[in-house]
Amino acid sequence: MDYTAGKPIDDRVIEAMLPYMRSFYGNPASLHQFGQEPRKALDEARTKVAELINAEKKESIIFTSGATESNNMAIKGVAFRNKDHGTHITTSNIEHMSVINPIKYLTTRGFEATFVPVDRDGLLDLENLKHAMTDKTVLVSINYANGEIGTIQPAQEISQIVHGKKAYLHMDATAAAGQVPIDVQKEEIDLLTVSSNDMYGPKGVGALYIKEGVRVEPLLHGGGQERGLRSGTENLPSIVGFGKAAEITKKEMQAEGERLAGLRNRLIKGLLEGIPYAFLNGHPTRRLPNNAYVRFSFIEGESMLLSLDMLGVAASSGSACTAKTLEPSHVLLAIGLKHEEAHGSLLFTLGKQNTQEEIDYVISIMPSIVERLRAISPLTPEELRERCTPRK
């Protein structure tokens, strides 16, 4: 139940990709017959990704190597190309590192940045966003939904504020695309990051939607592929796979979303009701259908992960004890959690292969895992200590 970390490729996607590794190895740029089929496939994939987010035309989709490149291209590309109009960028304090770090980089290149806070549920503070924007603001970059706490932002309200101040809006939809419907025209989004693996496509490919008329400087200069915005021979098998994944997702998203939301609600309810001192991280209703993020007081996330792993369940934690630093997730600190609360967080991200039996299994094993670790913990209050006496 750690789908956010990596998803399997859908079998139908693999089947669609195979011919472009075996037979149609030509370069889409070639005029001869070997280039024709690849060129057609590239167009089709572009159309399918455009349809998923209701882009006005397929040419608005630029294929990249994934969400990190798309975010870099949107942020650095818009900033460098439009610096005559302003040198200020606004973002939130719960963004992915591939948004935070390009913006931090820009602050070393003459730009200024403001990080707008979110509330306890992870929703962007819209009043604060208004105040954070200045005449110099050229770009606002906000996640469509947060991949960790699962909170979905009010895209349309954000775009009204941003456009009222005459800036461009970039949204990172890596976690959201394929889980919730996105309409870049209706929601008036200028640039949107989409990733293939997050919708059961291959890794190493993604896209940036760029609305017509939005000026962007390329990151990669070379042969002028992708309308000159992203040079380099197209990674055709992966792009075809991405297109297929987008097509499948568009068809199946609603039914699968409803199924996952049912499982998610069952898991959250089971854990919160079955275990004392358990709380939900993120918004109670405006959340991604696959995201169940629960924190347990007095214990640490990684020890829960190991316990679950021994019983055959994969999850993720809000504790960064496994990472290079000892700091817990910046997202959890941004929603106002104390360090020790953040450390006790356990993230389940559900996917296609998860069943109700698996959810019920997790609900059945978690109470004893938590009880055992609380018995070891010195932080446990008296009341729990009596309940959690160590078993011989």
Partner: protein
């Protein structure tokens, strides 16, 4: 893994002769070690830990190594001893073994301090 699954000497000693707490829940690690001393030897030792799997395993391991040793011997237990006994720890986890050895030393120092206070009272 074994010391995480079945930690030894887990719990508290209500009439401990020395108690040592190190770490900080802010960093995700907090460890308390309780010792009972008889004839200059660690007669009993127990721990309580809030932390990751490695922190729990090293707490358990340090109590196993120290039990029955003289106070001087126990003071010589190093961070490396603890990690080695567990079959090595990845570099990012070395602070856990630091914590376990530090907690033991803190508990022994607490014992010495309490002994001195007793002597003063006499």
């Amino acid at each position: 893994m074994e010391h995480f699954k079945n930690p030894r000497n887990m719990g508290e000693i209500s009439d401990a002769d020395g108690v040592g707490t190190v770490g900080n829940p802010v960093c995700g690690d907090l460890m308390t070690i309780y010792i009972k001393v008889k004839d200059n030897r660690l007669e009993d030792i127990k721990f309580k830990t809030f932390g990751c799997g490695a922190a729990i395993a090293t707490s358990s391991m340090v109590t196993e190594i120290a039990k029955g040793k003289t106070l001087e011997e126990a003071m010589k237990i190093t961070r490396a001893n603890v990690a080695d006994s567990l079959g090595g720890l990845p570099p990012v986890k070395m602070h856990c073994s630091n914590l376990a050895a530090d907690a033991l030393h803190a508990a022994i120092e607490d014992y010495y301090k309490k002994q001195k206070e007793k002597e003063v009272k006499k």
